[in-house]
Amino acid sequence: MAARSLWNGTIVFGAVTVPIKLHAAVESRTVHFHEVHLADGARIEHRRFCSKEEREVPKDEVVRGYEIREGEYVVVDKEEIDAAAGTRSRIIEVEHFVDVEQIDPALYDHPYFLGAGTGGADAYRLLHDAMERTSRAAIGRFTFHNREYLAAIRPYEDVLVLHTLRFADELVAADELELPDAGRQPDEREVKMAAQLVQTLHEDFDPRRYRDEYRELVLKAIEAKAEGKEPPRDTPPARDGSDDLLAALQASLKGT
């Protein structure tokens, strides 16, 4: 059984077209709660109120406005907002290819899987294998739900993954943050010991080794509470809050 697709379209580079289907790549497993009134356990409802009339407003009396000056709005309807999507709702044109490792991790936003579309089995495989051999990603624009994104497409296992990317101007630069005064530089011994500690704790990355332990804790607490028991608690380890960096490094190295 093939997975259901969220979007169908075509990747274009030069005269080559690759029909594709878009699928979800992420399935959030966060434990979701809903809002309840503590007094009676009833569900909380969100209701819309007009701030001027102090009364509830049905959905069909609500419009969307952009605040052009303080307190002054330009009303824009859904079709007009959708017009910003551009002219390529089904086409991802590859603008160029780049080395995957040059893309800063901070730019990756949301991933989707791409499957081969109708009549595109050969072209899909070719694009996948050629990018895999060259460690490249294809960069292009992708329009989804009437919004245009910058996207990187690259091989992942046996399929292609499409990442929407953040734009460079969305990233906050380091020099925009306020930092405390520098103070004394770490000395040579401290640097050496810290480097040793980094080396000792170095390992190969295996994402499957990390489970969401907090999720398990929350689920256990829910079960305990349902049975009227006290939820289990995670006890914090004792921390040495001392100012002596060298001593802390020494103690850490001894512990590894």
């Binding site: 030069g14 080559v16 800063d104 050629a130 734009f167 930092l179 080396q199 960096l245 190295l253």
Partner: protein, 307 residues
């Protein structure tokens, strides 16, 4: 000045550094507010108890979970008390090579900034920057923020600790059900495709891409303010599957080799020098669909894509 989203400490062995977490992403989206159509007043969302039909202040709200039809309710304090250490500490557990982390795991980027007056922890922060900055290593850790646990990668960027939250491996779907196409391309085809990718490869420069969607949306709002009507642009037709891959690869390679990149309209930089009328004339010649409703920058974009 950005606001700290979380305060706590970064722990590395027995070394603790008090840190504040800031988002490394700013919201530049064009936001719309809900308004009451009749009087243009802002809409407010209020929380009501569905049973009592009255407004409920935030302090009276808890978190409910349906466990096999039975509702279990927690207060925020109870949830926070579940894992106090994880909520206050980013615990570094290992160091790995950045290249080993698949980008599919990366979620949201943040900055970690040292806080507090004390000199020892501040020096510890700088120590991490210095030691990790000289390698391609990233620190792996985990912490809980707003009742969700995150696996995080901490690395050095521009002399500061940059933290990226990651998805857990079990949140990435299996690729088994995704149609991965044909078995294997013919060697000749693969060589041609690699040659084509090489020819179209440039250095990565993120500042080269602007959010055209954001700009178009702003233009729509400006037009609307002036009382102009907004028309949806005609959609370009989706091309069909390539019947002969080898021929298409050869044709594209020839075109790139023969003319350099750009083609018909020239580079976007050259096109930007032209007036909208001149751009529109060229768009007519190139038969660009939807050209009559395009702005100048859209015409530049469309023409630079025509070959």
């Amino acid at each position: 000045v950005p606001r700290a989203l979380w305060n706590g400490s970064l722990s590395f062995g027995l070394v603790n550094v008090p840190v504040a977490l800031y988002s490394a992403v700013r919201d530049l989206d064009v936001h719309f507010h809900e308004l009451h159509a009749k009087d243009g007043a802002r809409i407010e969302t209020r929380r009501f108890c569905s049973e009592e039909d009255r407004e409920v202040p935030y302090e009276e709200i808890g978190r409910g979970y349906d466990l096999d039809g039975k509702q279990v309710v927690f207060t925020d304090e109870e949830l926070e008390a579940l894992a106090p250490a994880r909520t206050r500490t980013i615990e570094i557990q290992a160091f790995v090579d950045l290249a080993e982390i698949d980008p599919i795991l990366f979620d949201h980027p943040y900055w970690l900034v040292p806080t507090g007056e004390s000199q020892g922890p501040l020096r510890a922060y700088r120590l991490l920057v210095e030691v990790m900055g000289s390698t391609d290593r990233v620190a792996l850790g985990r912490f809980v923020m707003r009742t969700k646990e995150y696996l995080v990668a901490v690395r050095i960027r521009d002399g500061l600790l940059a933290l990226t939250t990651m998805r857990f491996a079990d949140e990435i779907r299996d690729t088994k059900e995704i149609d991965s196409g044909a078995r294997k391309p013919a060697k000749g085809q693969l060589d041609q495709a690699v040659a084509l990718i090489d020819a179209l490869t440039t250095g990565w420069d993120p500042s080269r891409y602007e959010d055209r969607y954001r700009e178009r949306l702003k233009a729509i709002v400006r037009k609307k303010e002036k009382g102009q009507t907004i028309k949806a642009p005609a959609q370009e037709k989706e091309p069909g599957a390539t019947p002969d891959l080898m021929a298409a690869l050869r044709k594209t390679l020839d075109e790139i080799g023969g003319r350099g990149r750009g083609g018909n309209g020239g580079s976007p930089e050259d096109l930007e020098q032209l007036s909208r009328d001149e751009l529109y004339r060229r768009a007519q010649d190139a038969d660009v669909p939807g050209r009559s409703s395009m702005s100048k920058e859209e015409l530049v974009g469309a023409l630079s894509r025509t070959r």
